[in-house]
């Protein structure tokens, strides 16, 4: 349904997109996952015919977004990064206007506005000015505006950014409904958790390039599933912990000097946790915290881009484990990834 080939875009000397290839099959959900400034919005804007690419092309349902932009616009619904609704119109007036701009006759625009308001749980608030809406309601209304035209393809740029946890969960269940209805959806996000929850496929973008693509499980597999995290009580212990944990888990331990933390990818959470606990106890190094958590986007980037990619965000030197250091106890499932 969406097919992008070699899409490039530069703003002055900034290469926002440096050759992006991507496909989204009909009726599936793709999450474009990346940090701030990775190029997500730029890609979305080109896809939504708001920006012309420098090179490459994108087709929506076989229609080129540059050459036949007008047709593409009648196929897509866009919910941008910020809720683009008019504060001093009511929710209903916002939706009717969008429907009319789609070319619907007045009566049908009204009917669809009511239908969408109901579906979004804004039926009662429909006639109130948007100024009185909460952040979550605005987001939903903004989503609603992209639904009025019954688009074939829905595009959402960071739909849940800036929402409180409750609104985020409401939004997700709403998106679930679209997905069940068979809508093709491309959404961007900074949160692996969100991609995991909503998407069939995830494409990770970093500095204008796709650095990985696959199902959420594929991706998590690439960083070995979960992450073991040990927090030292003093910075001087961090290096010792790195050495101590080397050989455990599914990859190399990585130190964060500022947070006095060592993280370790693992695919066997319980075994790794027990082994790590044993080693720590035997060594007598005091630790403030020890646990296993789900991987964060930072962990994914760390694994996919190596320390170099992450070093731009955290200037502190990352300790690399010394190769060849004798390991106390080979972990049963030791599997080296990367390096």
């Amino acid at each position: 349904m969406i097919k992008a080939e070699g899409v490039e875009k530069a703003f002055g000397s900034t290469r926002a997109l440096a050759g992006v290839d991507l496909t989204v099959d009909s009726g599936t959900v793709l999450a474009l996952l990346g940090r701030n400034g990775a190029g997500k919005t730029t890609f979305v804007r080109i896809l939504a015919t708001l920006l012309a690419p420098d090179a490459g092309r994108i087709q929506v349902a076989g229609v080129d977004v540059v050459h036949d932009a007008k047709t593409v616009r009648s196929l897509i619904g866009l919910a941008g990064q910020f809720a683009a609704v008019d504060e001093t119109l009511s929710g209903r007036e916002n939706l009717v206007l969008v429907g009319r701009l789609y070319g619907l006759p007045r009566r049908e625009a009204r009917a669809r506005a009511s239908e969408v308001l109901e579906r979004l749980g804004l039926g009662d608030a429909g006639d109130r000015l948007v100024r009185t809406y909460s952040g979550g309601m605005r987001r939903r209304l903004d989503l609603g505006a992209s639904l009025v035209g019954r688009p074939l393809v829905l595009i959402m740029d960071e739909p849940s950014t800036g929402l409180d946890p409750r609104s985020r969960i409401e939004l997700w269940s709403l998106i679930d409904d679209f997905i069940k209805a068979g809508t093709t959806l491309l959404l961007t996000t900074q949160y692996l958790e969100e991609a995991d929850r909503l998407a069939d496929r995830v494409a990770v973008i970093e500095r204008g390039r796709l650095i990985a693509a696959g199902t959420p499980d594929d991706l998590k597999q690439r960083i070995g599933g979960d992450v073991l995290e040990v927090r030292a009580t003093s910075a001087s212990d961090v290096e010792r912990l790195v050495n101590l944990l080397t050989g455990l888990g599914a990859g190399l331990p990585v130190a964060d000097m500022r947070a006095q933390c060592v993280t370790l990818p693992t695919s066997e959470r319980v075994q790794t946790l027990l082994a790590a606990a044993r080693r720590i106890e035997e060594s007598g190094i005091p630790v403030a915290d020890l646990g296993v958590r789900r991987p964060s986007l930072d962990d994914v980037f760390l694994t996919l881009t190596g320390a170099g990619g992450a070093a731009t965000k955290r200037p502190e030197p990352r300790l690399r484990p010394v190769p060849g250091e004798p390991s106390l106890e080979p972990a049963p499932n030791a599997r080296r990834v990367g390096s």
Binding site: M1, S26, A48, A52, G80, A84, D86, L101, L152
Partner: protein
């Protein structure tokens, strides 16, 4: 890729008119529901009328005008047209920065309608302010001293000039893209044009360089045309022609540039 039903929407020229009307209505509705805006648009020119009529008016003498208010009102009408036009910059920047423009551009809307509706709505607003202004003028002693037709032509020229300025400031709004800068740019551009002009007093007694600038620039030209048409001084033809040429020139240049800029936004 399987067969996809693409809903045909042959929305050509007709869509330009319907979309422009829809968006104009939206722009006006936003204004009407922001009482501060409505009041501010009215208060500015009224304050200037009262200030110059009663505070400064007594000490300003313009040759050929026994009643200063007859000289003043056409000046304030042009000032109002310029200020009214400058509000387009704020509207354009506001929609751009809030992402509303992106929303409209992502719809199968006629894109030319977006700017057309902005300037049209601001013209309607200007009409409202202008009507109010003339009413206040009449209350404080201003009189038209000419036939109805030339008077209407004068008001028409003021509105035309305001519409041209709307496009000029639409271009400014597209360039600065945020409300604060748009407001600032509005002040910086309008103030020298309004005060270094024949708006409040004759340019005759200004220092040489200033006078040359004042006489050459459009605010003076339009104000003079308006005076000729409302006061019935001399033959209004040449002055009116100057004013129209200026306005249409600004309109065409600004609309072309703004449309071009909008396409690459």
């Amino acid at each position: 890729m399987g067969a996809v039903i693409i809903r045909p929407r042959s929305r050509g020229v007709r869509s330009f008119f319907t979309d422009t009307l829809l968006l104009t209505r939206r722009n006006l509705l936003l204004t009407a529901r922001t009482p501060e805006l409505v009041v501010f648009a009215a208060i500015m020119p009224i304050m200037f009328v009262l200030l110059f009529r009663y505070v400064f008016g007594g000490s300003i003498n313009v040759p050929g005008y026994s009643n200063y208010v007859d000289y003043l009102m056409p000046g304030i009408m042009v000032q109002t047209a310029l200020f009214g036009g400058s509000s387009s910059a704020v509207g354009v920047a506001d929609d751009l920065s809030k992402g509303v423009t992106d929303r409209f551009r992502s719809l199968p809307t006629n894109r030319a309608s977006i700017l057309a509706a902005r300037t049209l709505a601001d013209l309607v607003r200007l009409g409202y302010t202008m009507g109010l202004l003339i009413a206040i003028g009449l209350l404080v002693g201003f009189r038209f001293h000419n036939a109805l037709l030339p008077v209407l032509a004068g008001v028409g020229i003021a509105l035309l000039f305001g519409y041209a300025c709307s496009w000029l400031f639409t271009l400014v709004g597209l360039m600065v893209r945020n409300v604060e800068s748009a407001t600032l740019a509005g002040f910086l551009l309008t103030f020298p044009l309004v005060f270094a002009a024949s708006t409040f007093t004759s340019t005759k007694f200004m220092p040489h360089g200033l006078r040359a600038f004042a006489n050459a620039q459009p605010v003076t030209q339009v104000a003079n045309a308006l005076r000729d048409l409302t006061h019935g001084t001399g033959s209004a033809g040449p002055a009116a022609l100057h004013a129209i040429v200026w306005s249409v020139g600004i309109l065409i240049a600004a609309a072309t540039l703004a449309t071009w800029k909008f396409r690459k936004i």
